[in-house]
Amino acid sequence: MLTRLHFKNWRSLKDVTIDNLTPLTVFIGANSSGKTNIVDGLDFMIKMMSGDPTPAVRANRGNKTRTLNTDDEDALVFSATYLDPVSKKHLTYEMNLKIETAKDLPTYFHSHLCEGEKRLFTQTIDKFPILVFGISRWREASWADEGHFIEGIDQHEAEHLLRRTKIFVQERWQILGEGFLPKLAVTFAELGAIYPIQNNGANLVAILDYMRDAHPNIFTLFQQDIAWMLNHIEHVDINLIKDQEARFSIFENAHPSIEAPTISAGTAHIAAMLAAYYAFDFKNQELPGLVIIEEPDTALNPGLLEKFVELLRDYVSDPEKPRQFIMTTHNPAFLDFFQPEEVRVVSRDEQGYTHVDPIPEHIKEVWLDKYGLGEVWMTRAFGGLPE
């Protein structure tokens, strides 16, 4: 499970540490406070984890990447600490990146893996290909540096730790970004990958189609959960139409043998979030999995929120399959179902820099034996609201 994040010089996150992450963590804050920058920072880390930061840098051009008032010599720092369930060790993977902003190219990339303070592995790249009109011209071979393990450590174990860390970040973080709305009917050409879920949920049908065929037991659990969430649903399925189109279909209790003509945005949202969770079980299910969801409550009726959070709590409670959800919300009704220690308040100071703070300890003692956290949020007792 991810326990700590640190960002430096990444967009509005000039120097932000987020500690003591819990299996469910919710970020609240005013619009433009920096919540999405945290989510995008995690996405940036996934992309850099391959060891080649160039595509990630080019996808976040110019000022989209670095904190204002920093220059090319200021490194961007991204660090993630997690509890490796196999070794039971807290491991930290840190990436430092310098960018030549004018050319949107990395000039320096350093990453290392630590166990506590002890460094296990390090990789440095300080020469990158020059891009001229889209053609790469290689400068020098250090591009291919694959790093090295620190002398004097158990190299065999360190290799395993590094491999699992890379799998955790690259393959076990799934993000459903702002405004995700899965397409529920796609041509075979549009199906997309079977894993992980895309940022906009576009490959939901591909994931479910694969799940149904290759992992029918997982698909059954998915079906049961979605029917539990939405009482009117008898079952869901993937329909293949004339070998050309795949379609997510629901069958309602009122007419169980007839495919419902329409599917609401809320149903599509729920399906995407549950599919992301169940997709972790396709392989390496003993490894930790993290789903990051921007505004999961969008299009969900307030009456469903308690059920939804209960389902998430159920998902993260299995010690054999460590799972975690990081979410953002603007919805006090959603926040009502969380404990203060599961919530972080995101705000910006007068310079425009983001701060991430826990909810003050006294909130629990003063309010929470009588009222929900979301209700207390609206009193302005702990920030996270526009001025």
Binding site: E361, H362, E365, V366, W367, V376, M378, T379, R380
Partner: protein
């Protein structure tokens, strides 16, 4: 930076007080908290007052010299009973007895009378400022002035924001708002502002 912790009955009251206070004490920070609910009011303030005071009392960010202000309207011209007001008064008195530097500020009859006494607001609206503490429904008077000025209503967030921009914060001069004068005399002598 010194802090004045404000508890107000609603959002617009908090914003008016804060805007005036910050004109007068620009070096001070004024975080505010409100009763629960989407439309807080005096009844909700009466229900939540002890929790709101306690919330500030135990907040680790509060320093010894910081003040707490509980702000609400007197509403004498329209209220039908006084139990909510009495409850708030009692809670404030108890907090002071317990050692908190707390001041109950009561705007007469509504805090908008402080705006009708403000030179900046009145000049912008082209109206004569005066003592409206004794008049009924200063909110409605201000709304009438705004309507005369243009197509703005005080009963919208945009309308109120427009008014707040013009606040100078001088409505406590002798011939204008006595309730504001009482509040700001007390605040000028308070530990957080001296």
């Amino acid at each position: 930076m010194k802090t004045l912790w404000l508890i107000a009955e609603d959002e617009s009251g908090a914003q008016i007080f804060r805007a005036i206070f910050e004109r007068r004490f620009p070096e001070m920070h004024v975080p505010y908290i409100l009763p629960r609910g989407n439309h807080p009011n005096i009844s909700r303030l009466a229900i939540d007052i002890e929790d709101l005071i306690n919330n500030i009392h135990v907040d680790k960010r509060r320093k010894a010299d910081d003040c707490i202000v509980v702000l609400h309207d007197l509403d004498a011209q329209r209220r039908t009973e006084t139990s909510d007001y009495d409850k708030i008064k009692k809670a404030c008195e108890k907090a002071v007895k317990d050692g908190l530097k707390l001041l109950e500020c009561i705007a007469v009859d509504e805090i908008e009378s402080w705006l009708l006494a403000d030179s900046g607001v009145c000049q912008w609206l082209g109206e004569k400022r005066g003592n409206y503490d004794t008049k009924a429904a200063p909110k409605d008077i201000l709304n009438g002035w705004l309507k005369r000025k243009g197509k703005i209503t005080y009963y919208s967030v945009r309308g109120r924001d427009e008014v707040f921009k013009h606040i100078v914060g001088d409505g406590d001069q002798k011939e204008y708002s006595p309730s504001m004068r009482w509040a700001f005399t007390a605040l000028t002598n308070a530990s957080c502002t001296t």
